[in-house]
Point group: C2
Chain length 405, copies 2
């Protein structure tokens, strides 16, 4: 027996980091969320689902049942592409609900949509190359692509989504993007939905220019109002669209389950990338998700989530109308989790300190621009806060906007 | 309502792949495992824990309990570095069991050790640079580093692990490896344990050359025989060692939970990398693992797993002694999951077809060499198969070795 072992130390190893590691900085959004994570602050900052939307009883029941029937398989390593019965159930649901035709082997499960975004960047773009996205766009995508040194070129939006004339102009200057990344439904951060006409035109442009479209659809099931608009994937006659879905907003984020629907050659490359990244997603998560879909619990839960979030959206919009100064503009999302608030001439980066003094938090708009070059807006989440806090938080924010901008 | 939606298609997009995607090929091991996944084949190929080692009842109890107490937090997004109470429990256990001193914020949870290996490559090495490892070494590490275009230089082993003279020679030729990667306990694929003296010398060499050591320790808790040897991390006075642990072999792989212990600056870089890769690991997995550690179930389960695997190792070794031709050599691991079988002059790549005809499978030795330049060996897993299949499989393999090599 060896005795008197010396004690282990953890010394800084920073002189050893790779060039990539040297460039990695905490995202603005993460830094802000750290600051806002104190109990007396009302935070509209996070992108969290409301825990009241989680189907706790269903999860308990399914876990029990799957553990009894499939226990040993449920705890074992799973296939890299995901649990076969889950992919079969998803393929069926995509056909029924979204009119998307895919076979189970055109689906791969990922560790949240984040992993899908990271891997799709890796397999479609070389370091230094560029892609096109809406501006503003989801910070997680900015982070994922930046980690692979992929540039993002933003195309402005209006209330019908990405402006197609602007896209055509951008394509003249940047003619060979590796893909076009869009969130057509209730976009993060703006809450804006791309119109049917725009979707048609986007597909035409993709066809003309032989471009891949990444359709990121985390919120598509969460429509509160207005008419369903078909997904790009369902309208895609030429196979240019790669579709990203997730269980984070219709089941719960803790499972870390997202998925990609694409042609088999893309799925095969994602499979290989995933073998290098994490071998497979959690089989436990996959078995629970499979039960959730096949037992019909998901279709039963979605209207409950929609009803809860519709109420909260309405309450936040009402509070805006009651308390905000007149020159403050905001989007009126038909679904999803976020509202985009803009005050011309304001600098929301600077306002943030004042907001924190008033104990209310948001995410600065610049965090959603790849070049961080727009400072007039902020993103507010309406799904997470209590009703009381929505009203009180909007009051506080109104004060900030009145006093300091 | 939009009707008559055209049907989605999934066309091949292979002309669009990145250079990296073009180089990605299925690993030899994955291809072989696909072939061997038929019921009448006895496979010693996989690296799977025995499902009889899974603590099903404990998992059921902890899940119930955590869902009741922490349900909404358990299903929500978690912190990127992992559940705080889990990291606290792990830090305590590492001190008690391994004499490793670390604070909870010197730990990060990862989506299996695979994600840790991928991220450590990313943060410590630039594309085109090289690292040093044992030869043979774990295929998952080869895959992870290859995905970032990091070269691996292998150093030969004997029955006491990596040969330190050979390491010194290698360092003359390759003086600036970004790190040295080793699996000191019951190595994958050889089952060999690095001696105490070699560990001391490795730390000295690291100190002299100012090198980082990645100590990958998935099997450290699974010692069947022989004396415990302190981990490199616990012997490390200078802080050169980054330690990788996992719950896959002491709880179950389906949770996809591994962890890294390192200085705070390394943890911070891993945290940033993980934000890009998958945001966070599964909070459900983390809550279950936390209960498993804090309730003492893990310390109770480990001896059960050890006892099961010791029996299976003994049975396989006995069967070798009974059936193998005399010129076949094999390691006698004191723990872990694998035995390394070598027949001088054989080509196990070619033998594989014959083995498949005889309905027995292994992993070809060349899969564990970064340059795939050694063909005399094969890796056999002894943990997964039933007792009957271990005996029958070794019989079949003996026939193959006798007839065809």
């Amino acid at each position: 027996m060896v005795k008197f072992r010396p004690m282990a130390m953890n010394k800084p190893l920073n002189k050893k980091f790779s060039d990539l590691a040297e460039t990695m900085k905490p995202s603005a959004i993460r830094m802000l969320l750290r600051v806002t994570d104190t109990p007396d602050i009302i935070s509209f900052g996070g992108g969290l689902p409301n825990p009241d939307s989680f189907p706790l009883d269903e999860v308990r029941e399914i876990f029990e049942e799957q553990l009894k029937i499939n226990g040993k398989r449920m705890l074992q390593y799973g296939a890299t592409e995901g649990l076969k019965t889950l992919n079969i159930a998803l393929a069926k649901r995509m056909k029924e609900k979204e009119n998307i035709n895919c076979s189970p082997d055109e689906i791969i499960q990922t560790t949240g949509s984040q992993e899908a975004l990271y891997m799709l960047g890796k397999i479609f773009a070389n370091p230094g190359e560029y892609v096109i996205s809406e501006a503003p766009t989801y910070t997680g995508t900015i982070t994922a692509l930046r980690a692979s040194n992929i540039r993002m070129i933003g195309v402005p939006m209006d209330h019908d989504g990405m402006i197609m004339e602007k896209l055509r102009e951008t394509l003249k200057k940047y003619p060979n993007p590796r893909f076009i990344y869009v969130i057509p439904n209730f976009q993060n951060p703006t809450g804006i939905t791309m119109s049917y006409e725009r979707r048609k035109e986007l597909l035409e442009i993709a066809s003309e220019n032989d471009l891949i479209i990444l359709e990121d659809d985390p919120y598509g099931n969460l429509r509160f109002s207005g008419e369903h608009i078909p997904s790009l994937k369902s309208m895609d006659k030429e196979g240019n669209v790669v579709y990203l879905g997730t269980f984070s907003k219709v089941l719960a984020p803790g499972f870390r389950l997202g998925y990609v629907i694409a042609s088999k050659d893309v799925i095969e490359k994602l499979n290989l990338a995933k073998q290098a990244l994490d071998l497979a997603s959690s089989t436990i998560s996959e078995y629970i998700a499979e039960g959730y879909v096949t037992k019909g619990y998901m279709e039963r839960q979605i209207p409950k989530i929609v009803s809860l979030y519709r109420h909260k959206r309405d309450l936040m919009i009402e509070s805006f109308e009651k308390y905000f100064p007149e020159d403050v503009e905001f989007t009126r999302p038909n679904g999803g989790m976020f509202i985009w608030v803009t005050k011309k001439g304001a600098n929301t980066d600077k306002l943030f300190t004042k907001a924190m003094e008033m104990k209310v938090a948001y995410v600065i708009g610049s965090a959603f621009y790849p070049d961080e070059d727009n400072h007039e807006s902020m993103r507010l989440n309406f799904t997470y806060s209590s009703d009381e806090n929505i009203i009180e938080g909007v009051k506080r924010l109104s004060e900030v906007l009145k006093r300091y901008s």
